[in-house]
């Protein structure tokens, strides 16, 4: 036991025999870890930002809709009023209330929006203005006018800037929306020119720009009650109820709870992975990209450690020869070398953590500003926030520190073995 203590002490002294060299080495290894943490933070941050924005342009983290809607996207499939009130009631109870950030019932249909200039096929979304503000990102992307307000007259409409340009609409302009009333499937067929075509005059109260052409040229938002009246839907029926959660990770949990609560109703409860398969795939791609980048950077950091430890130890044959001549056994020499490498790694990791986490913290709060990329000035709309916020979970930090530590430990065995095998007369030859 005293032996081991002695060896640790020798290792420690060896380390500080040349403090400048040791600190330099520790700094170099530490910088490797710091850069690993910084790049992981930026990659993970970008990943989470994509999810957060993606679900808020779509139906949220979890969506409840009539059974079969996802596959058929047939607008006649509606949620009965009592299901909606059941969901809203359930979300007010106990634990579930704390994980839900917003709940928005929506009615969706297709229509034709016309002005004297032109006309365009549109996707009509009926929302409760206040509720949708808590779920959707569109209210935050208004470029002119305002988002719908609850005291809006029934005729207010919010449209995208692409559509506004195409139809030559401005704030306060009027447009005619033509829709077909929604009939439950199986009821009598409707002729194209039948009485079931409804039209109504709307007044533009706001224009948004998301930068996503599919939304900006296509989607129009009207108050839910107006949409229900226009589509001949009895009060309370909607297409879907979109939920935004505080944490994305709770999505499967909330979906399961809702499925249980709504057992027996003809509904489907989907998480964003199911309702937005495209987004899930993009993230899969992004994940694969991050995976490769992580692999590359780990390999590079690992090689740095390998070089450093090999270089530190393999050059010291003379010193090991002297130690051996003084009576240190090969096993003790090996323990000493491993101990020295581990102590060095521990110092490096501490330095790296302090350095990496401070830079990471800066990128997490102030963000990494990528606006310089746009040389010709910032484009009027960006789908992506040009400021990238770093995000690093504790698990990720533990993961990277452990991997780096494990690499250092494994790598230090080779020079330890070499040191133990030092051939005495050969090693003591002066260079």
């Amino acid at each position: 036991m005293t032996n081991l203590y002695l060896l640790v002490k020798i290792s420690w002294r060896n380390l500080w025999r040349n403090p400048r060299g040791t600190l330099l080495t520790a700094l170099a290894l530490g910088l490797g870890l710091a850069l690993l943490l910084i790049s992981l933070g930026l990659l993970d941050g970008g990943h989470e930002q994509t999810i957060a924005d993606g679900v808020r342009f779509g139906p949220g983290h979890v969506v409840v809709q009539a059974k079969g809607y996802q596959d058929s996207s047939s607008d006649e499939l509606l949620l009965p009023a009592q299901v909606v009130s059941n969901i809203e009631g359930f979300l007010q109870t106990g634990k579930i209330k704390q994980v839900v950030r917003g709940v928005s019932p929506r009615l969706l249909a297709t229509g034709l929006l016309s002005t004297s200039a032109s006309s365009a096929g549109v996707r009509v979304v009926g929302v409760i203005p206040k509720d949708d503000r808590a779920v959707s990102l569109i209210p935050q992307r208004m470029v002119e006018g305002t988002w719908l307000t609850s005291d809006d007259k029934l005729s207010g409409v919010v449209i995208g800037d692409e559509l506004a340009r195409k139809l030559e609409l401005k704030i306060g302009s009027k447009a005619v929306l033509m829709t077909q009333s929604l009939q439950p499937p199986g009821s009598k067929p409707v002729s194209v020119d039948g009485d079931e075509m409804q039209s109504t005059l709307l007044r533009v109260s706001g224009i948004f720009r998301t930068g996503l052409q599919a939304i900006d040229a296509n989607m129009i938002f009207v108050p839910l009650s107006a949409a229900q009246a226009l589509l001949g839907v009895s009060d309370g029926q909607v297409t879907q109820v979109a939920l935004l959660l505080v944490k994305e990770g709770d999505s499967p949990l909330v979906a399961r709870a809702l499925r249980k609560q709504l057992t027996g109703s003809p509904v489907e409860v989907l998480t964003w992975r199911e309702s937005l398969p495209m987004l899930a795939q993009i993230l899969g791609l992004d994940h694969a990209f991050n995976y490769i980048m992580n692999g590359v950077i780990l390999a590079m950091v690992g090689l740095g450690i390998l070089n450093t430890i090999l270089m530190r130890v393999l050059e010291r044959r003379y010193e090991f020869g002297v130690s051996k001549a003084l009576g240190l056994r090969p096993r003790q020499l090996a323990v000493m070398v491993v101990g020295e490498s581990l102590a060095l790694t521990a110092i490096s990791l501490t330095l790296g953590l302090v350095l990496g986490l401070s830079v990471q913290h800066y990128f997490a709060t102030a963000g990494l500003d990528l606006r310089w990329v746009f040389k010709a000035g910032l484009p009027p709309a960006l789908v992506f926030d040009p400021i990238l916020y770093s995000r690093l979970s504790v698990a990720r930090i533990v993961w990277s520190v452990s991997i780096v530590f494990a690499m250092a430990t494994i790598i230090s065995f080779y020079p330890a073995l070499k040191a133990a095998q030092t051939d005495l007369p050969d090693a003591l030859k002066v260079l």
Partner: protein, 419 residues
Amino acid sequence: MSGGLLQLAWRNLWRNRRRTFITMAAIAFGYAMLLFVACLMAGLRWQMIQNGTCLVMSQIQIHAPGYYPNRSLQKTLGGRKGTDVSALLASISADRRVSAVAPRVYGYALLSAAHRSAGVELMGVVPDQEPKITTLNTQIAKGTYLTARVPKGVVIGDKLASTIGIELNSEIVLLTQAADGSMGNDVYTVVGILHTGLDAVDRGLVLMSLSSLQDLLHLAPTRIHEVGIKLSHITAATAVAAALEVRLGKNLPVRVMAWPELAPELANYVQFNHGVTVVLFFIFFLVAVIGVMNTMLMAVYERTREFGMLMAVGMRPSQVIGLILTEAAGLGVASLVVGATLGVPLLWYLQVHGLDLGGATGGVVSVAGVVVGHLWYGRQDFPAYSQAAAGLAATALVSALYPAWRAAQLRPTEAMRKV
């Protein structure tokens, strides 16, 4: 003397092969990794542009001034009289950077089938010319692309088909306002169903032959809205567009737009992505630099005793520094060559076979209006390769210089006392 210095440096490198090998590994492996990352990142950028333009849009579009983006039916090339289409296409192809051209006509219509209807965008193309500039013909999920056999055949997106409830070979009615103000309507047969993964196309586009769309819209055969162009090298798009606008403008009022103007969303995304990858590449570069720096510093520092000996036998400090720098330079260049040699098969593989991300994505993905396959191809980025090489070589020299300079400051006896 300098011949002697070279010889000495050469011998030193071979004297302690292990040290030389470790240093070489740090530089070569770091460089190979940087090559790999630069190649993948350039590939991602190129693939985004390529895929974003090749599906429907094409790399350059020529319109009558004022046609884009409102796509007013009347604003055909050459105005109401139209223009000699084949002469125009020939004149565009005269530019050697142009690899293919195809004319197009657009319109809007109400599509109805059975008891449902939807507003759609009509795109009229020449079935045997369009596939030379875009790849929509490769995205047919069911049935076939437009053929001359079925002149009134249409191809529609799968989401439109399922929303309206139509199948292959169903008949549909297209109702539109024609160019002369009358209502045009006619019956068409669905010959193909598309699946691109892009909502705007899958849900809202109807593809038909140029001549049948001209018939529906009551447009004369001389009247087209657009010419799509594919180039041999997409990087030249903006320059070619500007040149074409000047040249064609002499005979016909035209507006020529390259893809960054046609798809600012894509251009934004490409630029944003470029920013992210530049930052990442810089971080990777720093990691490589630190590895090289640390290895070099230690390799030279450990030889202080040896340098003391050299100075004791009469070598001047400046000569010692010269010797070390010569060694470092030689080692650096050799290592970069080794790194590049390791990297070349990797880069070749990335460019030819691509990296298969199929497991992670499960098929086709669209990002910012771009369809991305599951294969990620590399693309050579020689400026990045040479910058990385220069950076690593400079790092190797500077990190050798510092301990060498310190050793040269010592008196020989002091230097020799260091172990």
